[in-house]
Symmetry: C2
Subunit: 416 residues, 2 copies
């Protein structure tokens, strides 16, 4: 390749790699991973569709999540312009292309490249980019510069303060959010970086979080991964194959601009892993309510067996503690609601005492946070035995608009 020709990633890739494009939920089956890195680069997910990708898409291995605040001078037309630009870039990025035409192909050597370059030659690793609108994007009264005040769904408010919350402003909320997931972290970082660059002057990065290991499966084809307590996590999480469950618990059904969309709940949860690691195996299993090895309920069976909360052992003590994590999170204790969980493990270095700054970046997609998240988290923050080892330090809620179709932009139903 001669100087002056910076091909888009797609062009470079076609030379040697086998990039299969699959279209739609019927084709989401992937090979069962034997590693927390599943086979990267084997699949591209289409950006356009009825729903945004990155929700029922089989959870990729790595994540870069970012929250943005729009510039105080941005008006409705400016916001539409940003969403159009983001849509166009996201569509390119998810098929393994650069964020935009690059350098000399599009213009001059004297302009900055329209793609930052660190993903040149890399397949998408199943990259998905999912956009959300925070409560603060919706104005009220005199401050309604986007003319969206009367379009704010009633459930889109800041999450309430839960017992034990120790939230940092700089890790919470944001007018917009972008969830970039890929089996290749360099690709996810590249996506957030380029979307940040595109937003310059219109929206600024408020906070961001890298996750290195997924903590949930969103497909029955995926093995259940482990969280940093060393336990399988998300066994009960909704799976994409459960079409009626997804319809009921994930997608917003009410007519309106959010129909076919969802809500994204994010919680940055620090885990006191050093304290946990000094507790006995018996104690760990009691608090979780499952065995550490297989993830089977302590009432018996295997990982996917239903826990039997009535079963008692010596002295009539329930085998599964009613305040264990599995009991507190069970649909039977939560009015039958279920969540599609899509969180990631993180480590942000360590504190001055040598303790890892580690935890779970919890993400769930739900049809309504008021029914599907707030009651459960209220109960768990009060009574979950695990709470002693956890601290919630970041929080955010965003409405996730439905997918865009070719020619549309994400959020067109709200702003179009």
């Amino acid at each position: 390749m001669s100087r002056g020709q910076i091909s888009r990633r797609g062009l470079l890739v076609t030379a040697g790699a086998t990039t299969a494009v699959v279209g739609g939920a019927a084709a989401v089956a992937v090979t069962r991973p034997t590693s927390s890195s599943s086979s990267p680069g084997s699949v591209d997910y289409p950006f356009y569709g009825e729903h945004q990708a990155g929700i029922v898409t089989p959870a990729q291995d790595r994540m870069h999540f970012a929250a943005f605040d729009v510039d105080a001078r941005l008006d409705r037309a400016g916001l539409v312009g940003l969403l159009k630009d983001w849509t166009a870039a996201a569509e390119r990025l998810t098929r393994g292309a650069g964020a935009g035409p690059v350098g000399p192909l599009s213009g001059s050597y004297d302009a900055p490249p329209d793609d930052t370059g660190e993903a040149i030659g890399l397949p998408s690793g199943g990259l998905t980019i999912t956009f959300g609108f925070g409560p603060s994007l919706f104005g009220s009264g005199r401050d309604d510069r986007f003319r969206t005040a009367d379009q704010r769904p009633a459930s889109l408010t800041r999450l309430p303060h839960f017992p034990g919350d120790n939230l940092a402003t700089e890790q919470s909320d944001g007018d917009l959010c972008v969830q970039a997931c890929s089996d290749d972290p360099q690709v996810a970082v590249h996506a957030i970086r380029n979307l940040t660059r595109i937003a310059m002057g219109r929206a600024a990065l408020r906070w961001s979080q890298l996750g290195f290991g997924r903590t949930s499966s969103t497909s029955t084809s995926q093995a259940t991964p482990r969280n940093l307590f060393g336990f399988k996590d998300g066994t009960m999480s909704l799976k994409a194959e459960d079409a009626s469950g997804v319809e009921e618990h994930v997608w917003v059904g009410e007519p309106g601009w959010l129909q076919g969309g969802s809500y994204l709940v994010a919680r940055k949860i620090m885990m006191h892993v050093e304290t946990w690691d000094r507790s006995s195996l018996r104690e760990q299993e009691r608090l979780i309510g499952r065995t550490k090895a297989e993830g089977a309920p302590l009432s018996g069976g295997s990982e996917f067996s239903e826990p039997d909360f009535a079963l008692t052992g010596r002295g009539g003590v329930p085998l599964v503690d009613p305040s264990s994590h599995v009991a507190m999170a069970h649909p039977s204790r939560n009015g039958g609601v279920r969540m599609l969980r899509r969180g990631y493990n993180f480590v942000d270095g360590n504190d001055a005492l040598g303790r890892l700054s580690a935890g779970l970046f919890f993400i769930a997609f739900v049809a309504d946070p008021v029914t599907h998240y707030v009651p459960m988290q209220t109960a768990m923050a009060k009574n979950d035995l695990l709470s002693e080892y956890l601290q919630h330090v970041g929080s955010g809620l965003w409405a996730v608009p439905p997918g865009a179709r070719p020619g549309e932009y994400v959020g067109q139903g709200l702003l179009g």
Copy 2:
């Protein structure tokens, strides 16, 4: 699997995975990655050997690096005990086993598990664990509790202050260091976490760093990856296949406890990516001295062509700027010395102005930092055009003892 049997990872893996164990440098050839995630889980590297693994081993995709300070009360026997325990655990971890016998297999449910569990079922992803000894581990005068003062190699001192350095104590130095590399970040994190746990009361984590994308190839079988400036990095880095180059520039040759070992130079380098992204492609290529697309020297040819520093263009201006990165780092400008580079890209979130806290965690293995690193970095800090976009915020130097043989522990030559 019944409750009470937490198999070691190795046992779990043999059920379905194909884990090939290769022995020695002749077998290090791996498939050329088409992604920054190469095929994980395909190989285990033996821990024991003439040299420590993780140096000429083909660079894995992800890294967790940690520096430790030993406890003020630790004596020589205590240090030996720690190194024996770390050696035993590292040998287990690198073959995909847990850090130690787990829970009920080794004792009681009432003890904490000897492995934290988050890597149960995961292959090693080519995990290597490499240990180093910092200058501060060696006493002097009255404070020589390890009785090592007269064993400190003359080149093992704190690196000098370089122009532009803005080093943070909490990201620099340390009595001991551990470099854990794997294609699977969860495996690398698991290794550091368990070694930290094992060290409790004897050494404490001082600082740690995750890297998500390797920035160098250490084998001719690997494609050159890209740094966060979007350029291929490490093209000129020594490769494992260059046996005489490795012998001359990586391994310590002088007789003594460090013979067959090396020095690990670590530098945490923040990269002002937002400023970089606003500079023109022409400027970017001039500063690097290579094309962005292919990484060819601006004097022509392809990636691995030797740059021709004498070649001039219009007005007699050299095609490769003498202050470009490629020129400053070239062996011809540095007394013929070469480095085996093994660094990683990182992103630690963002700052309050919305700029990514991103950069390069530079790691190089050299036979002598006094000849192989200090002169080059002194010149580059002063004159490298790239310095405008960089800031060194962390630094460390460690002597890396030779490998241990079965029955030995790492550092036995020094302390045995």
